[in-house]
């Protein structure tokens, strides 16, 4: 029997690089802000699904507006809070496109509360990405509907008083309760496991839309080191220890159609 020599060589391969759907530009986000990380995850999934040419983004007002600039997608910037309404119009006219909104908590949970609720209620076949950092980031860290009880912001210097200001809004749970929503999840990005889960949730939400399952929404607990007055590492720990206690992570609505999609992969 001839001796067969199998030469095995070691070759260097690139295993992680900047996604194609993300521009080469340096973002305007503060150091350590997880907006950049969430933009990157969405870009990675868009690359993976091969839908960059087919996706239309709708950006809001606030720090999240820069989504239009950092993702290489066709896009529209909507008036404050109206991204789901604009996305509804685009999707109805161009039903073969993937239409996504990317909104912060000031945009979706405050001024745009009505639009997102009715868009979910109608079961519009769009995907909303919701970045919850528990304050109004761009304008200087004022209290938002999502600010935690007792949390100090520039407009709640004694901490949020729930007696007069009510409890923080849980968007994911609320939208999951509406009959029109197909997939609703809440994620975070404070360690490798949660980043992986967030990427999976983004993928499932976009696949749900591509399969025509109806409204999908992914909420991200995001850090705001500048306005929270914490270092980027401390801010991630604050999400893990404080935010997750009130905003639990997980999937809140998986419709039957999305369950079938999930089983297929």
């Amino acid at each position: 029997m001839d001796e067969q020599v199998v030469v095995v060589a070691l070759q260097e391969q690139k295993v992680y690089s900047r996604p194609r759907a993300l521009t080469a530009e340096t973002t305007n986000y503060c150091p350590g802000c997880t907006h950049g990380l969430i933009n990157k995850l969405i870009a990675e999934v868009i690359d993976e699904l091969g839908i960059q040419e087919n996706t239309i983004s709708v950006s809001p007002v606030g720090c999240a507006v820069f989504f239009y600039r950092y993702l290489v997608l066709d896009g529209v910037v909507a008036p404050h809070g109206r991204a789901p309404a604009v996305a509804t119009g685009i999707k109805r006219m161009l039903p073969d496109r993937v239409v996504i909104t990317y909104q912060g908590d000031g945009d979706m949970a405050a001024i745009g509360m009505s639009e997102i609720v009715w868009t979910a209620m109608r079961g519009e076949n769009i995907t909303a990405f919701f970045v919850n950092n528990a304050n109004y980031g761009m304008t200087g860290g004022q209290m938002a509907p999502t600010t935690l009880a007792g949390q100090v912001t520039t407009t709640s210097p004694q901490g949020r008083d729930v007696e007069t200001m009510g409890m923080p809004t849980r968007m994911a749970e609320m939208l999951a309760g509406l009959p029109g929503s197909a997939y609703v999840a809440r994620c975070a990005t404070y360690d490798a496991r949660t980043i992986r889960d967030a990427r999976n949730a983004i993928r499932l939400a976009l696949r749900a839309q591509m399969a025509g399952a109806g409204f999908s929404m992914v909420e991200f607990l995001s850090s705001c080191p500048t306005n929270w007055g914490l270092s980027p590492q401390e801010a991630l720990q604050w999400i893990k220890q404080t935010m997750v206690a009130y905003y639990p992570l997980g999937e809140f609505k998986v419709s039957e159609a999305v369950q079938r999609l999930k089983a297929k992969r």
């Binding site: 260097e12 690089s17 080469a24 340096t26 973002t27 150091p31 350590g32 907006h35 950049g36 980027p232």
Partner: protein, 93 residues
């Protein structure tokens, strides 16, 4: 363990230090020099080749400033072409 290497795009780094906090071998530190925006960028300090290319640093980087390379065993004839390494040169502002 496979051998790895990271490339940090110095001008994209904002010095948030999240990568230094997740490296299992503690191989990333902040540079003593500044980039054009005035941040101290992260740098890999790996004289003994302990980086495994696990990509945890790249995964948590909010600025997508880190690229990861890892050695893999390949049969020479079945080997895919090595990706070209792009060197990003930024013009002075």
């Amino acid at each position: 363990m496979p051998k790895g290497r990271i490339v940090i795009h110095v001008e994209a780094c904002k010095g948030c230090q999240l990568c230094t906090s997740v490296c299992p071998s503690g191989l990333i530190r902040m540079s003593a020099s500044f980039n054009r925006k005035g941040y101290r960028p992260a740098e890999l300090v790996d004289p003994t080749g302990r980086c495994t290319g696990c990509a945890l640093c790249a995964m948590i980087c909010p600025d997508a400033a880190i690229e990861v390379y890892r050695e893999a065993k390949v049969k020479p004839h079945a080997a895919p072409p090595v990706e070209e390494v792009v060197v990003i040169v930024t013009e002075p502002a």
